[in-house]
């Protein structure tokens, strides 16, 4: 089939950006969107033009590198999908596919469809961990954790840090990302000693990085490739409230 791509091109963070249109012929329905971009890039290189820069790595939906708003939807309109898992069979001959980078102040643009998500790392560095040094951990089975709690923790821990929640949110809020990490550790006994501080510190960092506030529209949940529930946001709010009420 034949598709038209409208791709955001911008040389670096400070340059002016614009949409450019590219035609792609002989698109196989089995191609992934990233493979389609590979083909388009090959055409561009052949013409001596610079190819479209985009983040990608594992191409199997787990590394969290790929990050495009596809026709207005972060990672495309399907649920539970990353950009690299969008296959061309989802489109029909003659379609136009609009590709844009994540847009948020804390995700400054690097080039074309690539953004800098190091703000997420800084949020984790401010509290997204259990403070245990290597060595000296008790036997792994010393602390039984019910399967339900372990599964619940996993549901949150599945976050791949791609930033789709921010990209999809009309406020560019990172609440689902923060809630996932806080929720993961709050569901486990290991996370209890630092539970209050973790919620507070991560929220403070999130604000400082310039993310928007949550207005409970829940688009993040639908965009999340790991389908992390906004229930974790409710739980984060609860943890934060409890942390505040326990202040002395």
């Amino acid at each position: 089939m034949k598709l038209t791509l409208k791709v955001w091109r911008q040389k670096n963070a400070t340059a002016a950006g614009r949409f450019e249109s590219y035609e792609a012929n002989d698109v196989s329905p089995d191609m992934s969107l990233l493979e389609l971009l590979d083909v388009v890039n090959e055409q561009l290189v052949n013409k001596g033009e610079e190819p479209v820069a985009f983040d990608h790595d594992c191409r199997e939906g787990i590394c969290g590198a790929c990050s495009m708003v596809i026709n207005g939807h972060a990672h495309g309109s399907d649920r539970g999908t990353t950009t690299c898992q969008v296959h061309m069979r989802r489109f029909t001959n003659g379609d136009t596919v609009v590709l844009e980078p994540w847009r948020a102040k804390p995700f400054p643009l690097v080039r074309d469809l690539m953004v800098d998500r190091s703000s997420f790392d800084r949020i984790i560095a401010s509290g997204g961990f259990v403070s245990v040094n290597t060595g000296g951990a008790p036997d792994a089975n010393a602390l039984p954790i019910g399967k339900v709690d372990a599964d619940h923790a996993f549901d949150a821990a599945a976050c791949i840090g791609c930033g789709a929640c921010v990209a999809a949110c009309k406020n560019a809020s990172a609440m689902l990302f923060v809630a996932a990490k806080v929720g993961h550790l709050a569901s486990l006994p290991q996370g209890q000693p630092e539970r209050d501080a973790r919620a507070v510190n991560m929220i403070m960092t999130m604000d400082r990085e310039g993310f928007g506030a949550c207005t409970n529209t829940y688009d993040c949940e639908a965009a999340c490739p790991k389908e992390i529930s906004v229930d974790f946001i409710g739980a984060l709010n609860r943890d934060y409230r409890k942390a505040l009420s326990s202040t002395r």
Binding site: N46, E60, H87, G128, F129, S131, V132, T134, G135
Partner: protein
């Protein structure tokens, strides 16, 4: 090149404790005066960087990804082994050690493997303490499953995303140290060379991928945890960015490269769907616990799989390896799949595929149980192929997945360049000629959390701080060479993209240095690689310049190193005149088509010394002695 593995004396089971008991220590107050450079932030790199910083060292960590959390360890699905013996099925450190040595076809160093088995249990404790959500039973204790070629259940897992959860644990430990100011993280920064001064590794040269700026970093030791080189095949299960650059450049600076021909071809990957294919996706081999592998018995059978009656199917793994059946180790299963496809029985496009069928398991256990066990894998398969594998058997085919070869290291994980340490997949040490399932995560974390911190301290205590600063001649010369190399690539201005040239290299390697290798094929491959390398320097086209984000330039640089490395890989395969593990020389097989080892001549690690562009590399040997296990023919029948 002198190869001294420096294995502690004494009985096997006491070597590691005797090393720790007699190691030299760095005074706690002095630790912060040492700067350690860690390249790569996968399981090995992240856990090492975090653990070293916890000890008090100043750490600079580097990764080419936009965040340390994206290193390719994240994609590991199946699990991590540990000799906990929680299921009470007879496991022990000894058994894990023995299985790993045997699984590696007796081509690994006994002492290292035993140490790996010893520390395996502490890894699980550490990860649980970090909050890694391993699978649990209803009673709240950790769940185990059996995995790829093991007859005990010693594999800990977190759904089909064990690598992700372990990496996020290590990443969170790393970020904690970043927050404390003990680790300085340099993301989107690619190492382009090691700086060696007076025979000691003293720093690295890196390129900031966002700005293109080349800079240098000095340290008292350099640690490479930069993963494997499966992307030499172009199509592999590795992430697109995985590359050999760091280890290859280190090799060119004096680090011996061991057993480059040992590559693991994973049996259960989704077959390529066309020429556009950019990478291959692994389906966890845990599927083989319940799935049965088969092909039609007659060539050219075009019936739908469910229309082919039981009697006309060949469950070839169960037939050939009755005691292990579908759980035969990876090298064996891969080769068996290649064999049936080569004989024309393969299914799917191009006949490059075999069925992995869950129908019996669904009948036996019910749809729900299968969905619980493998739901996410089957969903992933469905996304890629648009097929419902609850109804139609999956098609799988082997694909390059892991590389057991790597930079040679001694017992302390130090390469032949003093001060240059190599951990995880990047080194050669623990898996021999074949890696068992769920052992890669174990090795990466063992190296990073538990082995490197003491061994590196021991070395630093003896070697003392490095006096080199980034202003010295060693640094400026290395930077100059890096710049020349970059400019040379930009100056070719040919007509072919790095991607196309890389695909060509991949074809050569897959066809001639893949699952089956012959002397003639390898010699041909070496000629073709040389020719392709020549063409690379005439036909390469890198658009743009070096002073900004330039993905073409990155790819070209990695490919240039692959093109040099590939030849060494073929040569190593050529000179290893035996079949062992993932290295299958068609000339050396039993009458039944099984690998035929030659312990008399090849019970050694081949370590290559670089001697400049104009001289072939020199092959050294580290003889492998097996004092504790009996060299047996590996049989899974």
């Amino acid at each position: 090149m002198k190869l001294d593995a420096r294995i502690p004396s004494g009985p096997l089971a006491q070597k590691w404790s005797s090393f720790k008991g007699s190691m030299k220590l760095v005074n706690p107050a002095n630790k912060r005066k040492y700067r350690i450079i860690v390249v790569g932030t996968g399981l090995a790199g992240a856990s090492a960087a975090a653990s070293l910083a916890e000890l008090g060292y100043q750490v600079d960590a580097f990764c080419f990804q936009d965040s340390p959390r994206r290193a390719h360890s994240i994609a590991a699905q199946g699990g991590i082994n540990a000799a906990k013996n929680y299921p009470n099925d007879g496991d022990s450190v000894w058994r894990l050690f023995y299985d790993t040595v045997k699984g590696g076809d007796f081509r690994a160093r006994e002492a290292n493997v035993h140490r790996l088995a010893e520390v395996s249990t502490a890894i699980i404790d550490q990860c649980v303490a970090q909050g890694v959500p391993f699978a649990r039973e209803y009673g709240g204790l950790l769940d185990n499953r059996s995995f790829g070629g093991a007859q005990v259940s010693r594999t800990f897992y977190a759904r089909g995303q064990t690598g992700q959860q372990l990496l996020l644990g290590a990443y969170s430990a790393l970020e904690r140290q970043v927050g404390l100011g003990k680790v300085k993280m340099h993301a989107r920064t690619e190492m382009l060379d090691v700086v060696v001064d007076n025979g000691r590794a003293v720093g690295i040269v890196v390129r900031d991928l966002t700005t293109g700026v080349i800079s240098t970093h000095a340290g008292d030791a350099v640690v490479l945890g930069t993963g494997g080189y499966s992307n030499v095949f172009f199509l592999s299960t590795n992430a697109k960015g995985c590359n050999v650059t760091a280890t290859w450049r280190a090799h060119k600076r004096g680090a011996g490269f061991a057993n480059p021909c040992y590559t693991q071809i994973h049996p259960t990957c989704i077959p390529a769907s066309g020429d556009h294919q950019s990478k291959l996706t692994l389906m966890s081999e845990s599927l083989r616990n319940d799935g049965r592998v088969w092909v039609p018995q007659t060539k050219g059978d075009v019936r739908r799989p469910d229309q082919i009656p039981e009697a006309e199917r060949d469950y070839y793994l169960e037939r050939r390896y009755p005691s292990f059946g579908n759980l035969a180790p990876r090298d064996i299963s891969s080769r068996a799949a290649k064999l049936v496809c080569d004989s024309g029985l393969g299914v799917g496009p191009g006949g490059r595929g075999v069925y992995l069928d869950l129908a019996d398991a669904i009948k036996r256990l019910g749809h729900k149980t299968i969905e619980e066990r493998y739901g996410n894998l089957l969903a992933m398969y469905g996304k890629i192929t648009d097929e419902n594998s609850y109804e139609v058997p999956m098609r799988i085919y082997p694909a390059p997945h892991y590389t057991m070869g790597g930079l040679w290291v001694d017992y302390s994980l130090m390469s032949t360049v003093p001060g240059l340490f190599v951990i995880g997949e990047a080194n050669f040490s623990d898996h021999g000629a074949n890696r068992l399932g769920a052992s890669a995560l174990m090795q990466g974390l063992a190296d990073g959390y538990f082995v490197l911190p003491p061994t590196l301290s021991d070395w630093l205590a003896q070697a003392g701080p490095s006096s080199a600063s980034t202003g010295t001649a060693a640094f400026t010369t290395t930077v100059q060479q890096v710049n020349e190399h970059t400019n040379k690539m930009l100056a070719v201005k040919g007509h072919r993209s790095p991607e196309l040239l890389h695909r060509e290299l991949g074809n050569i390697m897959w066809n001639k240095c893949g699952m089956g290798r012959t002397a003639a094929g390898l010699q041909e491959a070496m000629r073709e690689i040389k020719d392709l390398r020549g063409r690379f320097w005439q036909e390469l086209r890198v658009t743009g310049d070096g002073a900004c984000m330039n993905t073409q330039l990155e790819h070209a640089g990695r490919l240039a190193d692959f093109l040099e490395f590939a030849e060494l890989m073929c040569r190593d395969a050529l000179e290893r005149e035996e079949s062992c593990g993932g290295h299958f020389r068609e000339e050396y097989q039993t009458e039944e088509g099984e690998a035929q080892r030659n312990d008399k001549d090849f019970c050694h690690a081949a370590v290559w010394e670089h001697r400049g562009a104009n001289q072939p590399a020199l092959r050294h040997r580290e003889e492998l002695t097996f004092d504790n296990v009996h060299l047996a023919t590996r049989s899974y029948k």
